[in-house]
């Protein structure tokens, strides 16, 4: 047989390459997508609408344990408790109430039990102008000093509003102050944030913080 012409040789090589390609495709030899990073599902606590605390009104409504509010279980009626102070005039928390941390603002005058509690009747709260309020009405007490926040709260601008923005279609619910704020240490608590976003193509180096060249 004559030696193959250049054309035949070229076409033969091409046939070989095509066949190799076909095999490569079917066996999926290259270009496999890199497996994606496993992203764990977020902790359901991060999508819960529960508030950090439960107010007295909610405890009553949910028929929960109210023993924490049974003051005369330990105290004697008609005997107002005495407050004790240290050398710097800071309130000393009695050990029976050791779970309470008094941090209602930074000034000593705000950290007195009977600013809010009525010493003559421990089952009610008292305002500065002498009104007595039930525990379920504690919001009125907060509002009697914290006017701007209270007005915002009434308008729906402070604290979370839930339910229907369209009042004609359903009710709006507002939480009491104490559902979010501990009345003894009202600063809104910090917490662990939910995990940061997982980008599709993570950067090779971590993002530098704000300091540095810009």
């Amino acid at each position: 047989m004559k030696s193959l012409s250049k054309t035949s040789l070229t076409l033969l090589v091409l046939m070989g390459v095509f066949t190799a390609l076909a095999v490569g495709f079917v066996l999926n030899l290259w270009g496999r997508p890199t497996p994606r990073l496993e992203i764990p599902l977020v902790d359901p606590a991060f999508i819960s609408t529960a508030t950090v605390r439960t107010s007295y009104a909610e405890l009553v409504a949910n028929k929960e344990d109210l023993s924490d509010f049974d003051c005369y279980g330990c105290h004697e009626k008609n005997k107002p408790p005495t407050l004790r102070f240290d050398a710097d005039h800071n309130l000393i928390i009695p050990q029976e109430h050791s779970d309470i941390v008094m941090k209602h603002g930074s000034h000593n005058r705000n950290n007195l039990c009977f600013n809010c509690h009525d010493e003559t009747n421990l089952e009610v709260l008292q305002t500065r102008d002498g009104r007595q309020l039930k525990f379920s009405e504690s919001t009125q007490l907060c509002g009697s000093c914290h006017g701007p926040n209270y007005r915002d709260w009434e308008a729906g601008a402070h604290g979370r509003t839930s339910g229907f923005w369209n009042r004609s279609m359903g009710p709006i619910t507002r939480k009491d102050c104490v559902s979010c704020h501990n009345p003894h240490a009202p600063k809104f608590p910090g917490r662990k944030p939910a995990p940061p976003p997982h980008p599709l193509r993570p950067l090779a180096k971590p993002t530098l913080t704000t300091e540095g060249e810009h």
Binding site: S5, K6, T7, S8, L11, L12, L14, M15, F18, T19, L21, A22, V23, F25, V26, N28, R36, E38, I39, L41, V42, F46, I47, S48, T49, T51, D152, A155, G156, A157, H158, G159, R160, T161, S162, G163, F164, W165, N166, S168, M169, G170, C180, F188, G190, R191, K192, P193, A194, P195, P196, P197, H198, P199, L200, P206, T207, T209, T210, H214
Partner: protein, 318 residues
């Protein structure tokens, strides 16, 4: 038959009908192997399942669908979701309410950066968990500067908020003058009368021009088939809202259209523990957003200078 001796090529012997058997054979052989290579090359298309159905392929544009057409479309979507997740959803086509224009106010004094809004949104709106799609991005900013170049996106300390910083969540600003609507070549995204910029997921061609145009990086693309865990599927769906999207289309925050057009707050508002987020109808003088815009002072609209006129008002009040 003359053979030009100056030809370098060796021309094969020709038979009676003018075609050389050898040249025909070799050409067909090459062709066959070539076609085999092409057919084999298309093998990955085997993995294409549930990409599209005939009805979805010929489906008309949202604004051209009659109520009967829409019924059929909603049924189709319910069937598809049931097939894929084993849960039969309830898909509705909610129309905008009259006399309503939504506005969002976000109190930057209150945001603690917990990212609960991000995940509530993901849960409510059936976003893909892997690849991860999140409509809301929370930026950790430094007190005293509004420079987003200096913001951190991936903060993960033991406790938020961190001293010296404030947190700014950003999502679709539902601009009055949306650049994304302007650039979409097929009108797949438009603004409705109640102010929400929506996407017709069955019309989008996935060119990602809107993603390039958005100054707030608010739009997300489905680079792969979205994966939603069955147990976390939200079956209350809307056509323009949280029905599961397919590979190759855009999506973004739509103010939880399935909730808001039924009169409820969006998921991000419902979950925020600090009460940072406020939502409502600006045309209603008694809404909390009207109260805020009337009574608070310093408002920031992001990138105001671009003329997008966003419906998001960030403010500080302490």
């Amino acid at each position: 038959m003359s053979q030009d001796p100056s030809h370098k090529e060796n021309i094969p012997a020709l038979d009676a009908d003018g075609l050389s058997r050898r040249s025909f054979l070799r050409t067909s052989a090459v062709f066959t192997t070539g076609l085999a290579a092409i057919a084999a090359g298309l093998a990955p298309l085997r993995n294409l399942k549930d990409f599209t159905s005939m009805e979805q392929f010929v489906q008309k544009y949202y604004k051209e669908l009659t109520p009967e057409d829409m019924e059929k479309v909603l049924k189709r979507i319910e069937n598809e979701v049931e097939k894929q997740y084993g849960i039969r959803p309830h898909v509705r086509d909610l129309k905008p309410m009259d006399g309503v224009e939504y506005v969002y106010c976000l109190n930057l004094s209150r945001c603690i950066g917990c990212r609960k809004c991000v995940h509530a949104c993901v849960a409510e709106n059936n976003q893909s968990r892997n690849p991860e799609i999140q409509y809301i991005r929370v930026l950790k900013m430094t007190n005293g500067s509004f420079d987003m170049e200096k913001a951190e996106h991936d903060y993960d300390p033991a406790m938020v908020p961190e001293k010296g910083h404030f947190y700014m969540p950003v999502q679709c600003q539902q601009c009055h003058n949306p650049p994304c609507v302007k650039v979409c070549p097929v009108h797949a995204t438009w603004q409705e009368t109640d102010g929400i910029t929506v996407i017709d997921y069955d019309w989008c061609i996935g060119c990602r021009y809107c993603e390039a145009a958005c100054p707030y990086w608010a739009r997300r693309f489905n680079f792969a088939k979205p994966s939603i865990p069955k147990e976390r599927l939200n079956p209350n769906m809307a056509y323009l809202g949280n029905r599961p999207r397919k590979q190759g289309v855009m999506e973004k925050c739509h103010f939880c259209i399935q909730r808001t057009r039924a009169g409820r707050y969006p998921a991000c508002v419902e979950v925020c523990p600090a009460g940072t987020r406020k939502f409502g109808n600006i045309l209603d003088p008694n809404s909390e957003v009207s109260y805020i815009l009337k009574n608070k002072r310093v408002f920031i609209q992001l990138k105001e200078e671009l003329g997008t006129s966003p419906r998001f008002f960030y403010y500080f009040d302490v």
